[in-house]
Amino acid sequence: MKRKDIEYTTVSEVAGPLMIVEGVKDVAYNEVVKIRTSYGEERTGQVLEAFENKAVVQVFEGTRGLDTKNTSARFIGETMKLGVSKDMVGRVFDGTGNPLDNAPPIIPEERRDVNGDPINPCAREYPREFIQTGISTIDGLNTLVRGQKLPIFSGSGLPHNELAAQIARQAKVLGKEEKFAVVFCAMGITSEEANLFIKDFENTGALERTVMFLNLADDPTIERIILPRMALTCAEYLAFDLNMHVLVILTDMTNYAESLREIAAAREEVPGRRGYPGYMYTDLAMNYERAGRIKGKKGSITQIPMLTMPDDDITHPIPDLTGYITEGQIVLERGLHKKSIYPPIAVLPCLSRLMDRGIGKDKTREDHAGVSNQLYAAYAEGCDLRDLVAIVGEDALSDRDRKFLQFADEFEKRFVSQGNHEDRSIEQTLTIAWELLSGLPVSELKKIDETYIKKYLPPVKEEK
């Protein structure tokens, strides 16, 4: 009998998402396990710890119904693989990579280890092609480029899904015709939330350029650990073998992290901060770092992970570790949402680290960097003054300060706020910016080169 045909019925312990099988031989670390329950249901697991005659297995679909008497385990002789093919585009898969739509299974061109290998830093191409999302706060202030990983930090009840759908709908590289292929990876979101995306993709015709991996709120939680790995393996194939520009949407990474914590707790590991495993940084990085560009390859992977910050707390380990890995972040804020500002992007804590190389002459516009810095400086000052006014009243302010205060209000109303279907060109975004800046004394525009001030600043409005 071949080793991979042996069925072990020696399960000695089932605890949380874990199962221990005794008396096994030749089991590899991270090997995939096929499990059969006493009533014949098949499940999948993976070896977390391998001993000479024992294996600790995490069970993706959960351990409910497993027992230590009749449950059997078969070690299939390889680590987790995903069959990839160009036919995946337009299809929907579940957490173990099986089709969820009613179409026939795909015939893989190749089977790839879902963990992937790290891209050699020497092989990377530095991302710098501007993606116009049509959203002013992103394009103008936190520019996204092809191959970047830029997460959205949100809170429960905030419109991050609408925003992500809008980005997917509007994203384009100027002067290029190719559309983005979308890999959509849903981890523990509700079917309603998933439908929002599916409908949107349908309406815009994006569905036929989309691959979906779905694990919804009522699906097994441990599967969420493997799901982004499958989605990214698929994305790598599309980008680097089939030359596509891929936009990967991962939502919600908070649910992913909860599943990690569940495993760690079951293994009684020494916990890191707030109960999350000490290796969470590395684990997240293994996913997030699978974005980028490769020299000599046409395709690219741009990642937009989304997460809900527990308690709206940006220092919580999930957003914190994510921010330490990704190339910036877009932060949504409840306060703005309450003021009915869409998208409720809190500009100050946002960042795009790849912006500097993606903007400027021949890419967006020569004045872009200066304008962005100036908007930041002026808005920050306006916000500080708001706090001050709350205590001492507006009368205590100088003329200059009042102008900054007013600037901050106008900025939120006209620059941040825009329609859910409003697709602003970068020119439009910069035009609004200059109009707002014209409300400040020219001598305060120190972040912008004087030649651009002469060229772009609209004539000063007469005061009434």
Binding site: F51, E52, E78, N120, C122, A285, E289, K297, Y324, I391
Partner: protein
């Protein structure tokens, strides 16, 4: 010596246990499994050795063999390091790229130093010369700017029996023979050194020369000395990497070793792309020609993060031993500490604070202790230095955590990054009230001799002004700015000038990115003069609003971007303009 061959009995992530390993030593390198993965012994218990594996352990099985090499983890030292980029255990990434393509596969073998390349060697010693560790016996032009001294390994001493004549040799060719107490030793250009052991020195000196970085807030306010140590803690996105890149680009060290430890792949790519194109302000040669890169990115095996910092510092020490001033940047030491935590967790060691192992503090201290300005071994009484700058990434940006705290206990310079400043795009976001440098006195000597006699005085005045500003801000918060007397409002304006236009410095502006010492001094002098003039004017009842609308204020604010070749001329006319404007304001008022 008989070979030690054990077998794997347990695999848990990057840690494995092997049986039958008796006779191995702690920290010996082992080859693990059928793919010959590289690992290091980190615990011995009777026959069982616990090994941290520097490569991905996916698919590894109990029963596979483990072979001990009986040697500690070492790096290869010799010509060919400069301009190269290595992973944590010194495998050359460009060579791996050629072998396995765009993605790094497991089990690849590649020599750190090219075995085929011939270097042009010139002897600088002759037979019968007495030589000892770190004495140079020859040299090789390694890059356009780096003359690689071929030095005698630290543990060798004797008489030179023979030395090859000038010519082209590979790193493995024998180039000299030394007669020692223990017999004749052949020397090659290639030498090896165990990474966890500091290379010995004759004596440690106190650092006293400034390491000039071209970054105003650092050089003027919180300077680091050659051979000194500095920490940059800060939450995500506060600017640690940008500062370290700036230091790697512009500081006046002769050799740069940049260690990317558990951070982003694109950041290493950025260095690889940019450094060959940037020009060193002193030698006018590409910056890459003095740089060695170590890249163990966050998605590479976690155990190799630990190795990467040691690999980096050992290479730094090697160039120091040639008499160079070396600067090492480590981004981020927190990822290294986390790697220790993860491995320690897998060993089920007793966890200390926040799960870090109890030896965290001593490991950090040992690492920073390898920095310093030193008298080298060798008969020539030469000096060299290694300066170390480490980023720290505290969870939630809170500095009270163990890695920040333990690091601050060791280093002499603290650049505290501030998320509020970063949010406002005040960069570098070094908080001027919390940061400090213990080298201020030592380095002021250099500034006063070469740049301006009153450098320290100016610096201290500016610092006092900023202190005063923060006190006044507290009052403003209660009563509003209008309620302050004109004198105080004048102070606020002066401080604002320094804060916004001296402390802030754009890394991305082609001129502002590097500010020479003399320009720093002149900018500061002019800004303090501006401050004096304001006080003089308010004394004469000039209204503060009239002062802030003068033209020279705006010109002064833009001094950072005045090209370095023109600044002396332009600053002179600015000073004149400023005096004129103030004089006419005062005149008008008196009228």
């Amino acid at each position: 010596m008989s070979e030690i061959v054990g077998k794997i009995v347990r695999i848990s992530g990057p840690v494995i246990e092997a049986d039958n390993m008796r006779g191995s030593k702690m920290y010996d390198v082992v080859r693990v499994g059928d793919e010959n993965l590289i690992g290091e012994i980190i615990r011995l218990n009777e026959d069982i050795a616990t090994v941290q594996v520097y490569e991905d352990t996916n698919g590894l099985k109990p029963g596979e063999k483990v072979i001990s090499t009986l040697e500690p983890l070492s790096v290869e030292l010799g010509p060919g390091l400069i301009t190269n980029i290595y992973d944590g255990i010194q495998r050359p990434l460009p060579a791996i790229n050629k072998q396995t393509g765009d993605f790094i596969a497991r089990g690849v073998e590649a020599h750190a130093l090219d075995r085929k390349k011939k270097w042009h060697f010139k002897p600088t010693a002759k037979p019968k010369d007495k030589v000892q560790g770190c004495d140079a016996i020859g040299e090789v032009q390694e890059s356009t700017i780096i003359l690689h001294k071929i030095i005698v390994p630290p543990d060798i001493q004797g008489t030179l029996l023979s030395i090859e004549k000038e010519g082209d040799y590979t790193v493995e060719d024998d180039i000299a023979v030394v007669a020692t107490d223990k017999g004749d030793v052949k020397l090659r250009m290639l030498q090896r050194w165990p990474v966890r052991k500091a290379r010995p020195v004759a004596e440690k000196y106190d650092p006293s020369l400034a390491l000039i970085t071209g970054q105003r807030v650092i050089d003027t306010f919180f300077p680091i000395a050659k051979g000194g140590t500095a920490a940059i803690p800060g939450g995500f996105g506060t600017g640690k990497t940008v500062i370290l890149h700036q230091l790697a680009k512009w500081s006046d060290a002769q050799i740069i070793v940049y260690v990317g430890c558990g951070e982003r792949g694109n950041e290493m790519t950025d260095v690889l792309r940019e450094f060959p194109e940037l020009e060193d302000p002193i030698t006018h040669e590409p910056l890459m020609n003095r740089t060695v890169l170590i890249a163990n990115t966050s998605n590479m095996p976690v155990a190799a993060r630990d190795a990467s910092v040691y690999t980096g510092i050992t290479i730094a020490e090697y160039y120091r031993d040639m008499g160079y001033d070396v600067a090492l940047m480590a981004d981020s030491t927190s990822r290294w500490a986390e790697a220790m935590r993860e491995i320690s967790g897998r060993l089920e060691e007793m966890p200390g604070e926040e799960g870090y192992p109890a030896y965290l503090a001593s490991r950090l201290a040992e690492f920073y202790e390898r920095a310093g300005r030193v008298k080298l071994l060798g008969s020539k009484n030469k000096e060299g230095s290694v300066s170390v700058m480490g980023a720290v990434s505290p969870p939630g940006g809170d500095f009270s955590e163990p890695v920040s705290q333990n690091t601050l206990r060791i280093v002499k310079v603290f650049w505290a990054l501030d998320a509020d400043l970063a949010d406002k795009r005040h960069f570098p976001s070094i908080n001027w009230l919390k940061s400090y440098s213990l080298y201020l006195e030592e380095v002021s000597d250099w500034w006063e001799k070469t740049v301006g006699k009153d450098w320290l005085k100016l610096r201290n005045r500016a610092m006092a002004l900023l202190q005063k500003e923060s006190e006044l801000q507290e009052i403003v918060k209660l009563v509003g700015p209008d309620a302050l007397p004109p004198r105080e409002r004048g102070l606020l304006e002066s401080a604002r000038m320094i804060r916004e236009n001296y402390l802030q410095q754009s890394a991305f502006h082609e001129v502002d990115t590097y500010c020479p010492g003399k320009k720093q001094y002149e900018m500061l002098r002019l800004m303090l003069k501006f401050s004096d003039k304001i006080q003089e004017a308010v004394e004469k009842n000039v209204h503060i609003d009239d002062i802030i609308s003068i033209k020279s204020r705006e010109t002064l604010a833009r001094t950072g971007t005045v090209p370095n070749e023109e600044f002396e001329k332009r600053f002179k006319s600015l000073e004149q303009e400023m005096e004129n404007e103030f004089n006419s304001l005062i005149k008008e008022r008196v009228k």
